[in-house]
């Protein structure tokens, strides 16, 4: 209890200043403006930003030097993430840099590393994640997409769902079933699939936001070289668990959370009731204080996990699950308060305003469309990345041993 293992590191302040300077100089004003309004950023613009980070090797700063990374410790990565969040930069898409990259440098062959790692480091390759299926959500091991060996290839048939950015992706890392006779977890393999392979169909899924980033991906007799399998056949679940464990090192998005509170305060200042700013209402002042308490707690939980990662190489099972749980709840809470203010403007939702270049008439504040979008999107925060119910099961079984 209260045994702090992380030392304050002055070099991190220097790094933080370096990241801020980089953002001030290199994040295009046009991109920043779109981000402020929550407008959609296309593949070119988002890719261009990621390539700027890639030019500094900052996308993969956490990776070991021997694989092209900069050996950042968890605290340095945390500073980096925070500053990008504070600056409202377009998000670093995690599928290459946080997921398949580490799987490749841990379990891949030398040939696979040479072929795929440079593209991840520099963002020359868009990756997507073929995991969930209609029948395999929380119960991922239930996946049915089948890969049958035929000479030097696997022939893949099946369907993936909730595939973020499949419509932009060059490559997919995909969990497939290579053995139907054994226990579910023991018949899964990890394949790298070129999205241009014949037989792949990508179908957009429109969200409640009316936006599109998710897809269904259908595989009909898709031929994938056996050489594209990572690691051993039927060992894919091990790599998947490694990847999910790695995902949990991802810290809570503190920079973004701080921006929610800034947006809320701005709205309270600008929105009037009975002719007076809502910022003067005691109920709202208390709510802001309440959210600040919650954010402080989330930061403290995150700091604990950094200490654990420094000490033991990874966050604790309980700590990571608790952090995910509380972060997602904070997010929804903060956005709900923003919606409460926007309700004074009748919650008009002009999705046209999310497309840059639209010059129609806005009803209500400029930021309203983007904020409503974010609120709707984050209704999934308690569902994606392991639902809140699953996180509680993880804690119950893994930490409390129930």
């Amino acid at each position: 209890m209260f045994i702090r293992t992380a030392q304050a590191d002055p070099s991190l302040d220097v790094f933080r200043a370096e990241v801020r300077a980089f953002l001030a100089e290199e994040l295009p004003g046009e991109t920043k403006r779109k981000q402020e309004l929550g407008q959609f950023i296309d593949r070119e613009e988002h890719g261009a930003w990621l390539r700027r980070l890639g030019a500094r090797d900052w996308l993969t700063g956490k990776w070991p030097k021997e694989h092209g990374g900069l050996d950042w410790g968890p605290e340095q990565f945390s500073v980096f993430s925070e500053e990008l969040g504070r600056a409202d930069a377009p998000p670093i898409v995690p599928f290459g840099v946080n997921m398949v990259g580490p799987v490749l440098y841990t379990f891949g062959t030398e040939k696979q590393r040479k072929q795929y790692l440079p593209g991840i480091i520099k963002h020359d390759t868009w990756w997507c994640q073929g995991y969930s299926e209609p029948g395999a959500g929380s119960d991922l091991a239930n996946l049915q997409t089948r890969a049958v060996q035929d000479g030097d290839n696997y022939v893949v048939n099946g369907q993936k769902i909730w595939t973020s950015y499949a419509h932009w992706a060059d490559m997919m890392f995909c969990l497939v079933r290579t053995d139907t006779e054994v226990k579910k977890q023991e018949g899964i393999s990890f394949l790298l699939i070129d999205m241009k392979t014949p037989g792949i169909t990508v179908r957009p899924i429109i969200g409640i936001t009316k936006g599109h980033h998710l897809n269904e991906v259908f595989f009909e007799d898709v031929r994938v070289p056996v050489a594209n399998r990572v690691g051993e056949e039927n060992q894919g679940w091990t790599y998947a668990k490694f990847l999910l464990g790695n995902e949990r090192v991802g810290v809570a998005d503190i920079g973004k959370f701080e921006r929610y509170l800034l947006s809320l305060q701005q709205l309270l200042n600008d929105t009037k009731e009975n002719g007076k700013p809502l910022a003067g209402e005691p109920e709202f002042q208390q709510k802001v204080a309440d959210l600040e308490v919650s954010l402080e707690t989330v930061k403290a939980l995150a700091a604990d996990q950094l200490s654990a990662a420094r000490r033991d190489g990874s966050p604790t099972l309980m700590g990571a699950a608790a952090l995910k749980l509380r972060s997602s709840e904070f997010q929804q809470d903060a956005l709900q308060s923003i919606m409460d203010v926007l309700a004074r403007h009748s919650l008009v939702y002009q999705t046209d305003a999310l497309h840059p270049g639209w010059n129609g008439d806005l009803v209500g504040p400029d930021e309203m469309a983007g904020l409503i979008y974010e609120h709707l999107y984050r209704r999934a925060a308690t569902i994606y990345g392991g639902s809140s119910e699953v996180q509680k099961n993880i804690i119950a079984k893994g930490a409390l041993r129930l």
Partner: protein
């Protein structure tokens, strides 16, 4: 007012539910809510509602109505909520009609029969950009002219203001300290500009700017310049009641849909409904939904009986409904997992409808504040 008896209410309930279930399924809602749809609501259905007597259910008999009460209107609104109906019930039958009924002269009340026949729709343009949820904050001015009045001011987004035959506009006569009056402004009057948009739950409306809009003397509801602030209060309380009923219907439907989903969706080798945690969540949704319905019913009765504490009951019902709507709507998405986040499923649309019901005309926090500040004039 001669309210329906229980048998008549059951018949009305069965009739409206039956209509919506057979004529207004989710696919129909999707077609109407598409931005490409010309109206954003079903004009043919509106005529049907009129023919079935539903638009006149709360209108006075001399306007061709049934002169039943809020409870009967509530039965209709609940069915509309269950079906995610997009027609302008709130704007026309509740807000607009109430304004005319409460403030209009006998001659002006003749407009009500056109509402009942479905040939005349209204929007209620009262709230202004800096008003928030406050009911009495109006800066639109009605300057007295030789022929009547000239209206100038800004009105916030109002449901159906893009397509209504007339706008009921509140304005102060003479100057900012003048008495609040209500005006029936034809949609085609010159000096009106609109910004048309849709709410999160796909209901269309518009914010309205009035620049020297000339109306004749008889456009002002009532025969004198009496202040109508208390009338506006009554109108808005009726609207609060109507959205409580609408939400009750939506919550009942979305709770049942969630039960059905968890019963069929299998993970880890069994239907999700077998997990006790999720069973209790469904029970919580049910109880929350029932609580809102019960509180709404109590308030409807209080209004119909002109009880002295009717306003307090209405405000309390709104608070209860808001709490329930937030919980039930949110859990409906959560329990549907990824599917609940798609535009394709009805669940997200119910979530959006409940979000609007929760906040329209004031949210829980607003009404709690009003209740706390009330000077205790309710009867014990």
């Amino acid at each position: 007012m001669p309210a329906f008896n229980s048998e008549e209410r059951q018949l009305l309930h069965d009739s409206v539910q039956g209509f919506f279930q057979s004529q207004y399924n989710f696919e129909h809602f999707r077609k109407l809510s598409d931005p490409a749809h010309a109206d954003g609501f079903d004009r043919a259905a509106w005529t049907e509602y009129a023919n079935l007597g539903w638009l006149g259910v709360a209108l006075p008999e001399n306007a061709g109505g049934t002169a039943a009460g809020m409870t009967e209107l509530g039965i209709i609104m609940a069915a509309a909520g269950s079906a995610l109906a997009l027609e302008p019930f709130l704007a026309t039958v509740v807000l607009g009609a109430s304004a005319i009924e409460f403030a209009g002269t006998p001659a002006q009340q003749s407009l009500l029969s056109d509402i009942g026949t479905g040939s005349y729709t209204l929007a209620f343009c009262h709230t202004e950009p800096d008003a928030g949820f406050a009911r009495g904050y109006v800066n639109t001015i009605a300057r007295v002219t030789d022929s009547g009045f000239s209206l100038s001011g800004e009105k916030s987004f109002a449901l159906h203001a893009q397509a209504a035959d007339a706008l009921i506009v509140s304005a102060r006569i003479g100057d900012a300290d003048g008495p609040l009056a209500l005006f029936v402004v034809p949609a085609s009057a010159s000096g009106i500009t609109r910004k048309t948009a849709a709410t999160l739950d796909n209901r269309r409306g518009a914010s309205v700017t009035l620049t020297d809009v000339n109306v004749d003397g008889i456009s002002r509801l009532g025969s004198t310049d009496q202040d109508q602030t208390a009338t506006v209060d009554r109108i808005l309380d009726r609207a609060v009641m109507a959205v409580c009923a609408e939400a009750a219907g939506a919550m009942e439907t979305v709770t049942q849909q969630t039960v059905d989903y968890l019963t069929t969706r299998e993970q880890f080798g069994q239907p999700l409904a077998k997990f006790q945690v999720l069973q209790h969540r469904l029970v919580d949704m049910n109880i929350s939904s029932e609580s809102a319905r019960a509180a709404t019913h109590a308030a409807l009765i209080a209004l119909d009986e002109s009880a002295a504490d009717a306003q307090t009951k209405v405000w309390r019902a709104k608070v209860q409904m808001a709490r329930s709507a937030r919980y039930v709507g949110g859990q409906a998405i959560q329990l549907h997992g990824g599917m609940g986040m798609t535009d394709e499923l009805a669940i997200g649309h119910y979530y959006k409808r409940l979000t609007l019901c929760e906040t329209m005309f004031g949210d829980a926090q607003w009404y709690l504040k009003q209740l706390a500040n009330a000077d205790g004039s309710e009867s014990s």
